[in-house]
Each structure stands twice: as C-alpha cells, then as structure tokens.
C-alpha cells in the first residue's frame, strides 16, 4: 500500500521531523516499508499558471497551434502546442524556459518552422495523473505566473508498506490508521477526522434495509441526489494517483479516497436499482455480471447485496453492472458495510477475484467504521459540491457487535516479558497514543482495546506487550542472557546415530550422501521398468509424478543412480530419510526413518559388490552396536529385485531391513554392464538394539594353533553351528580362508584358531576338538575334504 506523507500530515503535524528517519522507524515498529521511497515533485520546477491569450492554427500542421500565453510577465510568450483542447482564455500549467520536468530542462525549441519558448503541459507530463488527452486546465483563481506547486500539493514523499506485513492489522489499511502510528512514533497529537453531522437528517425517511444473513455484520447506507460536480479537485486526484489509483469521477473518487483514508470500502448504487436492500445468500448458483463486465459464477456460499430478490452486488467484492451509476442517474445510495472476514476471503478466492475492497474485508475490518465513513463522505462531498441534497436519514443495521476487550495486567508482567525497565509513564503514554483506554492504579493497568484493534488483533496481555515494545523500539533494548541452573545436555540418540552412520559411510567407505524427495519418482521409475508399490497419496499434488509417497527409498535411489552413470565407473550413494509403510491401525501414516545404500560398479562382479555392501552395513553395526549381523534369505514380489540373494538383515534376532541385488531387467536399463546392489534398514530399529559394548580381550600370552579344515558344503551356516555346538573355550576365532567349487560341489575352508589362556596347547587336544566338529558335520552328511 502506498502512503502519502502529505495525506498523513492532514492528521499529524510533522513540522521539524526528519521524515526519512520517521519512515525507517515506522518500518521497525509497525510494518515493513519497501526500500524505495518516492520523492514526488522533486524533479518538477518552473511550471506556472498561464493564460492562453491567442490561438492560431499552424499554417502547415493540422495538429499544432501557435499560442500566445500570458504568464504574468511584461511580454506574452510564443508557444507551439499540439494539444487539442487549447482555447483562448483557458488557464493551464506552463513550463517556462529553464523549467525542469523530470530529466528535461525546457529550452527554446523549433517546431515546424516556429520557435516555442516553453511548453503547455498535460497532467501526465507533470506526473499528477495519467490524464494525457490534452493540456491541464487550471480553474483556481490565482495570479498568472504563480508556481503550480503553490496551488497544488505536488511535493510529497510517498512510501510503500508491504501488504503482507499488514495481514493482522485491519486498522492500517488506510492513511488515518497509519497516521495514528506515525503520531505515536513521533510523539505528536493525532487530529480527528473531519466529518459531517448526519443527525440533522434524522427526520428524513429511512432506506428499506434488511440483513438476512449473519455474514453481514453491519450495513449502513444513505441516499442523496443532485451531484453537480463530475471531476474531482486536483489535490484529491493527485493523492489518488500518488497512491496508485486512477481518478474516475468525483463520486467514485470520493469512495476510493475514503477507502485509502479510512480503510473502509464503499459503494454507490443507482437508487432506482436498490429500493429494498436485502443481504443474503442464494440456494442455487447463478451467473452475475460485475461492473467490470465479467460474468461470474455465484454459488450458494457467496453473500450478495440484493434489491429484494434481485442481486445487485457481490458483498465485499464488487458491484454489479446493472446497478452502476449511469448517465441518467439522479439519486444515489451509498453503502458502507462490514462482512465476516473469512467468508469474504473464501468467496474472493472461489471467484479468483481479489479487489481493493475484498483485500480489506478479509482482514476483519472494524464495524464501527461504517457510519464514520459515511459521515466523512458527506463532509467531503459537501465541501466540494454544495448543491448536494441528502434524501434519507442514516440507515444502519448493526447485527454483529464485537465484544469490548478489556485487559488487566501489572507492571511486573511487563518487566518479566520485556526483560528491561519501561516506566509506567511510557506505558500509559504509548497505549494512549495508539488509542487504547488506559487506567493505572498501583502498578496495575486496565486497558481498553479500541474497536479498530479489537476485531481479532489484540485479545491478550501478550498483545499489549507488543504495542508497548514496538513503539519503545527494539533497537533501544538492553540485551541480556538468561539466568538458569546448569544441567548436562544428554544427546538424543535417534539423532546422533544418523550422524554416526553418515560419518562411517562417508569416511570409511567413500559413499556420497544424497537427498531425494519424499514422493516416489513414478515417471523415472517407469522408464527403468520399476513397478511402483501403491501407497498413500497427496491430495493436492500439482503433478501426478509427485503424488505417491515413497514406501521405500530404493526405487528413488535407483533413479538417482541412473542419472549418475556418467559420473564414475564405481560409486555408492546413501540417504537417511523417511518413508511411509502404508497406514497404521489408527489411520495414521506408518512413517519410518530408513538408511538406504545403493552401490553401482562397472569394474566389480555382482558377488564382490554384494559382499562389499554387506561389509559396509556390518561395519556400521559393529561401530554403533558392537554386534554382528545374520542374514535370512527371503522371497520378494517387487519386480526390481533379483529373486535370488534377497536377504533380511537380522540384528540381535530382529530383522532391521533387507539387502539385495537389482533385477537384471532393471540394472540393464541403468547400465548394460553394471552391477547394482542395495540395502535398506530401519534406523530406529538399529537405534533400539542394545549396544553390546566393547569387551576387552588381552593379547594372547601363549602361542596359538591354526588348523585349516575344508568341508564340502554349499553354505557356511552348518559349520558355524557345529563350532557353536562344540562350545570350546579354546576356539578363539574362525575365519573362512577359501571357497571353491569342483566336481564334488562347493567347498569351504575354515581356519580355526586355538589358544589356551594359561599354557601352551598340545596338538592332540586341539585335534580332539577339530575331530568333534568333523563328526558333527559328518552326521549331517557334510564330508571333510582331505
């Protein structure tokens, strides 16, 4: 919203105040001001009132005229002018030689064989409006040669307040509200708004008005006729223009002027079209043409202003074309109303039509404004058009009154909240300046919130703190640390584990951490031939490709691997992120935090790569929990996973995730020759497992004996079982040293390391244990290889 300092100074005496500093202060205390400040009229000088004394047609040009103008000096001035509206006797704005208009300095100028010694200007050329159809006509009775800046408020400082920072301040949507803040910040008095006394019309008939829907909080109206003025006074037009509005006609301009001044939107109807004002919603949707000529679809939730049953305006948004002021309108009905904010907001977003009015209504305007706005309207109207005749008494239905808000608090509360000392005097002065009613008794305050702040903005004691502190100025605060007892901060293990995992994978294994989106990359998956698991969806995704929430991170990671195949011949990526495994019994998403790793290699065979991956997760689990993992082969229906070698990863008896190989149909689409393996574990299941801790074992004091035995078996598990079964304290370690395959099938060579804690072992006692193991395996049909 654009704010004119001239307008503000109608209500606050700003003499002797550094206005730039004041605007800065406003930005820090009230609402954000955009960086660029406009100094209107700064580049305009030497433009004076001139009278056209003679007009001759240019002999060779149809457009140009040769003028002599009187600028109150001894000699008339010769001017060449192209404006169509020149006529003898007309007073206009004339830029003398040496005058400054924007970047142009006026100098004698040859135009089609004649020299022009100055320029007659249009309002647009002077930056006063966008009127450019002819030169400006001056009606004011002033001496010729008077600088136009002496008759019009051309010099002004205009700044823009960020609308977003006014969301919660309905009172700041007009200059008067801004002036109240400025007055408080400058420590000056706020002058009252000049208004007309409408009680003199009380004996006139009332308008037929009925609010039939509670969305309308207050509706005030007044009828009048005999408006003779059509064009608004120049200063009014300049203000509207400076504040970003076009002048239309006197009547429309006053309604806009009051909206910009008080924040209250108003609308004028042709009285013939609103004989019985009814405010209501309709049961059935219909089309309605607004005054901008657009047909809009009105549904049963949209509040309408009606003439009995005939809609004439969309409440709070825009008037209808049919009830607009037209040529032969003689009597007008002025509306000044308040509607429930959320209803207007919803209607305006349904209609996709936000207007200056709806923008204000959706902030919860103060219903107390409606009548003052009419009083102000009548004042301005009659100031500038004394023929106006009021033909009704003020008609006002006030169906929803906000509760009066009174807040009590004491000085201690303010001290505690601010942490600094602000005196009682300052508190009282500040609140009074902002229009609050304040009474103080023994450090206890009772504050009455003014109506314009009581619609939603100020309801609590804490809200009062903001009023006091922002005017006090946050830059003026003494800043202090807190005083509190000291306690150790215990690490939150769910969080620290993530960081441990990342460190191991990055530092020990050279993996790259990536992020992927929480939704499944359905399009990219399709390209890789991955059938995506159905899962819960977003209701309002703008793009179906981001609609389904991921159930696993693996498919997304495969898509990321695909896009990185030119990065290196071997690489690995990982992410710790969230997936949703459908819904829980209570209907909530079963969100799980997972670690997903994918390895890609063009140099290693898939078996080695798979072992690499298993080694990584074993290392993570060993570092974090000092435990080892077990695996259990499982089947899967997911089409991107190789049906063989898909395993559950088991930690302390619980499955924490899966490890597998990417199905060749998918991996070939990633790269014809590459191997791709993946794993995904539930991080919180890892976190939840008890840490086995480090159990110190002394270095051997006596020599160890290694015995290598080879068994013909496809799997190691039975050997491990047999060793466990023998349960000998002398076996310190078992290591698989070789696996190979020949005509007898697969063989595994295991090295058993023996040691006695207190003496040197003999070969016999060692072989006795080995024989036991061999016997156990033999009983299962597993032969030892000689």
């Amino acid at each position: 919203m654009l704010i004119s300092m001239n307008w503000i100074s109608d209500f606050v005496n700003l003499d002797g105040i550094d206005l730039n500093a004041l605007i800065q202060k406003f930005s820090l205390s009230t609402a954000e001001v955009e960086n660029e400040i406009f100094y209107k009229g700064k580049d305009l000088s030497g433009v004076v009132v001139a009278k056209i004394v003679s007009v001759e047609n240019h002999p060779e040009s149809k457009k140009l005229h040769l003028l002599k103008v009187d600028i109150g000096e001894n000699d008339l001035v010769d001017v060449v002018c192209g404006a169509p509206n020149v006529r003898v006797g007309m007073k206009t704005a004339f830029a003398k030689l040496g005058a400054q208009i924007g970047e142009i300095t006026i100098a004698p100028r040859a135009l089609a064989g004649y020299t022009s010694h100055g320029m007659c200007c249009s309002e647009k050329e002077l930056g006063l409006s966008d009127e450019n159809s002819g030169i400006m006509e001056i009606f004011e009775d002033v001496a010729l040669g008077t600088d136009i800046k002496e008759i019009y408020d051309i010099d002004d400082i205009v700044f823009e307040v960020d609308n977003k920072s006014l969301t919660n301040r309905p009172d700041l949507w007009g200059h008067y509200g801004i002036a109240r803040e400025i007055a408080a910040l400058a420590g000056r008095e706020l002058k009252p708004l000049p208004k007309a006394d409408l009680s003199v019309y009380n004996n006139l008939p009332k308008i037929d008005l009925k609010i039939e829907d509670p969305i309308c909080q207050r509706y005030s109206c007044l009828q009048f006729e005999n408006i003779t003025r059509h064009v608004s006074p120049v200063n009014m037009r300049i203000r509207l223009f400076y504040c970003g509005m076009r002048a239309i006609n006197f009547l429309a301009d006053i309604t806009n002027y009051i909206m910009l001044e008080m924040g209250q939107p108003m609308h004028a109807f042709d009285s013939r079209k609103v004989e019985k004002i009814r405010i209501k919603r309709f049961d059935k949707p219909f089309d309605f043409e607004t005054l901008d000529g657009v047909k809009r679809h009105i549904d049963e939730n949209t509040l309408m202003i009606c003439n009995d049953n005939n809609p004439v305006a969309i409440a709070g948004i825009m008037g209808g074309l049919d009830s607009e002021i037209v040529e032969d309108t003689t009597s007008l009905t002025l509306e000044s109303a308040t509607f429930e904010a959320s209803s207007i907001r919803k209607s305006s977003s349904r209609l996709a039509h936000r207007t200056d009015a709806s923008q204000r209504y959706e902030k919860s305007l103060d219903p107390e404004l409606t009548v003052s706005a009419i009083e102000r309207f009548v004042k301005i109207l009659s100031d500038w058009d004394n023929g106006v005749k009021i033909t009704s008494s003020l008609t006002d239905e006030y169906s929803y009154k906000y509760d009066k808000v009174t807040l009590s608090f004491d000085k201690k509360f303010v001290d505690r909240y601010t942490g600094i000392e602000i005196s009682n005097d300052t508190i009282v002065k500040t609140l009074k300046a902002l229009g609050f009613g304040v009474s103080l008794e023994n450090d206890s305050f009772t504050v009455e919130v003014p109506s314009w702040r009581a619609t939603k903005d100020v309801t609590l004691k804490a809200d009062i703190i903001e009023e006091i502190t922002r005017i006090y100025g946050y830059d003026n605060f003494n800043v202090n640390t807190t005083v509190a007892p000291l306690y150790p901060v215990r690490a939150f293990v769910e969080k620290t584990t993530d960081e441990q995992i990342k460190d191991i994978l990055v530092k020990a294994f050279g993996l790259h951490e990536v992020h992927s989106y929480i939704w499944a990359y359905t399009d990219e998956c399709k390209k890789l031939g991955i059938e995506y698991e159905s899962n819960i969806k977003l209701l309002n995704a703008t793009n179906p490709n981001i609609e389904t929430i991921r159930k696993s991170m693996v498919p997304n990671q495969l898509c990321q691997v695909k896009s990185n195949t030119s990065y290196a011949s071997d690489f690995g990526i990982f992410e710790i992120g969230r997936v949703v495994n459908g819904l829980k019994e209570n209907g909530m998403c079963d969100e799980q935090k997972k670690l997903c790793i994918t390895l890609y290699s063009k140099t290693k065979n898939v078996v080695d790569l798979y072992y690499d991956l298993a080694n990584m997760i074993a290392s993570v689990v060993d570092d974090i929990k000092h435990r080892s993992l077990e695996y259990k082969a499982v089947t899967t229906e997911l089409n991107y996973i190789h049906p063989k070698n898909y395993n559950e990863i088991i930690l302390d008896g619980t499955s924490i995730g899966n490890i597998g190989i990417v199905h060749p149909t998918v991996s070939k689409k990633i790269d014809k020759k590459a191997s791709v393996v993946f794993l995904e574990i539930d991080v919180n299941k890892l976190v939840g497992t008890e840490n086995a801790g480090i159990h110190y074992v002394e270095a051997p004091k006596y020599p160890t004996i290694d015995v290598d035995v080879t068994f013909v078996t496809p799997k190691y598990a039975p050997i491990a079982d047999a060793i466990k079964q023998v349960n000998s304290a002398l076996i310190k370690k078992e290591t698989v040293v070789d696996t190979y395959e020949d005509e007898n099938g697969k063989s595994i060579t295991v090295r058993l390391t023996f040691m006695h804690e207190d003496r040197t072992l003999t070969k016999d006692e060692v072989m006795e244990i080995v024989d036991k193991i061999i016997a156990i395996l033999k009983a299962q049909g597993i032969e030892m290889k000689q």
């Binding site: 903001e466 605060f477 640390t481 509190a484 990055v506 993996l511 951490e513 990185n564």
Partner: protein, 350 residues
C-alpha cells in the same frame, strides 16, 4: 705343501672374484670349507706327517681356513651391498606433480550446515531433536494457534495426504511435541526447555532456481520462568554470530506469525557490504534472515505449560537458505538432484 696352500688360496681368490650371486658363494664355501671341501681335505691329509710338520702345516691350513671364511663373508657383504644399491636405484623418481584424483565420499551440504548449527546450539545447552515429516493438522496448525480457516493456512500452501495428515509445512510443527516431552522436567525439576529441531519441510509450490517444494528449516525454542524479549535478542545475536562466525548486528521488526506474540522478523547486517547497502541486500544494508518471537500463550497452553508462569521464545532458521548462502549454491534444486558431479564437493566442512 705350502705351494698347495698358496695354490688353493689363489684359486679361492680367483673364484670369489668371479662369483656374482649368493648361490655361487655358497658353492664356493662348500667347495672349500664343506665336509669334503678342499681345505677340509687338506687337514685330512695330515695323517702321514711328522708331529712338527703336522703342527706347522696345521697352522698354515688353519690360517688358510680363517682367510677363506673371512674372504667369503666379505664377498657376501659386498654382494649384499651391490644388491641393496641395485634395489635403491631400481625405484623410479615419483612425479608428485601429476594431478591426483581423490576418491572420497561426501556429505550432503545440508548435513554440513546442520551440523555446524547444531554444534553452536549444543554449546549453549540446547537439546537436538528429531521429528517426523508427516504430521497432523493439530501439530502443524491448531497447536500453533492457527485455527481452521485462518488466513495463515492460505499463506502456506500445504501438501495434504489422503488420510487427513499433511507434510509438515514448517518445523514449528514439532513445537507441541517438544513442550510435552520436556514440560515435566521444566515444571518439576526447574530445567529450562532448550531445544532445536532441524527438519525437512514441504510446501505446495512450483519450483524454480529460488523455490523448492522441499527444504530444510531449523526450529529453536527456549522456555523458562522469566524468558524475555531482551533474552531473545541476546540469544539470537549470539547464536547467529556463531553460526556466521562473525560479529553480527541484528535488528527486529514486527512480524506476524500466529504462534508468537510479539512476533518479529529478524534482519542481520549484510555480510557483503557490511551494512553500507549493496545489490545483495537490495541496498538496505540488512538481510531478512529468520522469523522469531515470544511463544504465544495459547501455544504454551496447548503444550501443557502455564503462560502465566512461564514464557519463552521460538525462532526458525532456513537451513537450505543458509547452505545456499554459505556455499554459493545458485539453484536450490541442485540440493535434491542427487547429482554427484556437484554434490561430491562437500567432502567435509568442520
């Protein structure tokens, strides 16, 4: 006999000088000093000699034996020396000027920035929390004093799920749970609540170089008996100075957020121009950095904390924005791209 000894000696010297390997020398040793070696044989021949001859011959042979042993040892040493020299010379000069290719892993830049911030807050006694990405309407809005149909819900275009839950649109969604988690310690043991919670947030907006629908924030709260606006300014200034590792100026402006009262927009002095005004700060000398404020009484009440007894402040830092500022990332979408060519630069940054 002496000629025999001399001959053997010459022969030995001759052979040793021709020997070029340890095997040659071993053969020589066996040939002379072995069980049946020439020198050993000489001793065997002493049987037919007179005791005197025996003595002098024996001495001469022993001298020869001693000589041979020494000569062989010397030759071995010489060969070892030559061998070592060869080995030393065999190593080529290594050219370190050839550019090396590091095959290191990398962290996501968000991880690096997040860790840096977490460390700052850890030093000031803050707990670091973890929180879910999918939350309820209550957590994201109602508990934060944003009732249904409040305009603030329009301000954030939220992703809603089929079951009525939503993707959290701000990390403030974790506030309620944090208050409930720590309120008993606050009330019963007098331990102030100090917590930060970094997390991923989602907003339903179209993406471009400056806008993402998925980004990271870090929320922070502090609640105790007498937390004041003065404390808030102190903490924000100190913490942000640590985060940016320079002495910052901060300023507060009123800002409207339903879950704080008073609410602020916090600006920091522009690092690029030092507050003089430059294109980065739109010539204002200030950068709008983070919203903050005193926790709204209704928000404390929802968290089970009596606002008449306790006050607190809350703030939200844009981690994604910080990462972009710190590393000069120009396109926000790079961060979720998984593109290793750019992401592998973030090897570590402690």
């Amino acid at each position: 006999m002496n000629e025999q000894i001399n001959e053997l000696k010459n022969q030995l010297n001759n052979q040793l000088s021709q020997a070029s390997s340890l095997q040659d020398i071993e053969a020589i040793r066996v040939a002379y000093l072995g069980k049946n070696g020439s020198i050993t044989e000489l001793l065997k021949k002493m049987g037919g000699l007179s005791p005197e001859e025996k003595k002098s011959f024996g001495q001469a042979v022993n001298v020869l034996k001693g000589y041979a042993t020494q000569a062989i040892t010397d030759k071995i040493e010489e060969l070892n020396r030559i061998e070592l020299e060869k080995e030393l010379n065999a190593l080529p000069e290594i050219d370190l000027s050839i550019p090396t290719h590091l095959t290191k892993g990398s962290y996501h830049p968000i991880t690096l920035v997040q860790r840096h911030c977490e460390n700052v807050f850890r030093t000031m006694g803050f707990n670091i929390e973890d929180y879910s990405e999918i939350v309820t309407d209550y957590e994201c809005f109602e508990a934060l004093n944003i009732p249904k149909f409040h305009p603030a819900r329009d301000m954030q275009d939220t992703y809603y799920l089929e079951n009525g839950q939503l993707l959290k649109s701000h990390t403030s969604a974790a506030q309620n749970a944090i208050y409930k988690k720590y309120k008993d310690q606050l009330i019963n043991e007098g331990k102030p609540i100090r917590a930060i919670f970094p997390g991923r947030c989602f907003r339903n907006e179209s993406t471009d170089a400056c806008h993402e629908n998925t980004f990271f924030q870090m929320e922070g709260v502090m609640v105790d008996k007498n937390i004041s606006i003065s404390n808030l300014i102190f903490f924000m200034k100190s913490m942000l100075s640590e985060v940016f590792q320079r002495d910052l100026k901060v300023r507060l402006r009123p800002g409207f957020f339903p879950f704080v009262e008073p609410g602020f927009e916090l600006d920091i002095s522009c690092a690029i121009c030092g507050g003089e005004g430059c294109p980065s700060c739109k010539h204002s000398g200030w950068l709008e950095l983070c919203p903050c404020g005193m926790i709204h009484p209704n928000v404390l009440i929802e968290g089970g904390i009596d606002p008449d007894e306790y006050t607190g402040f809350a703030f939200g830092l844009g981690l994604t924005r910080l990462a972009m500022m710190k590393y000069g990332v120009k396109d926000i979408r790079d961060l979720n791209s998984g593109n290793l060519t750019s992401l592998d630069q973030f090897t570590d940054d402690k």
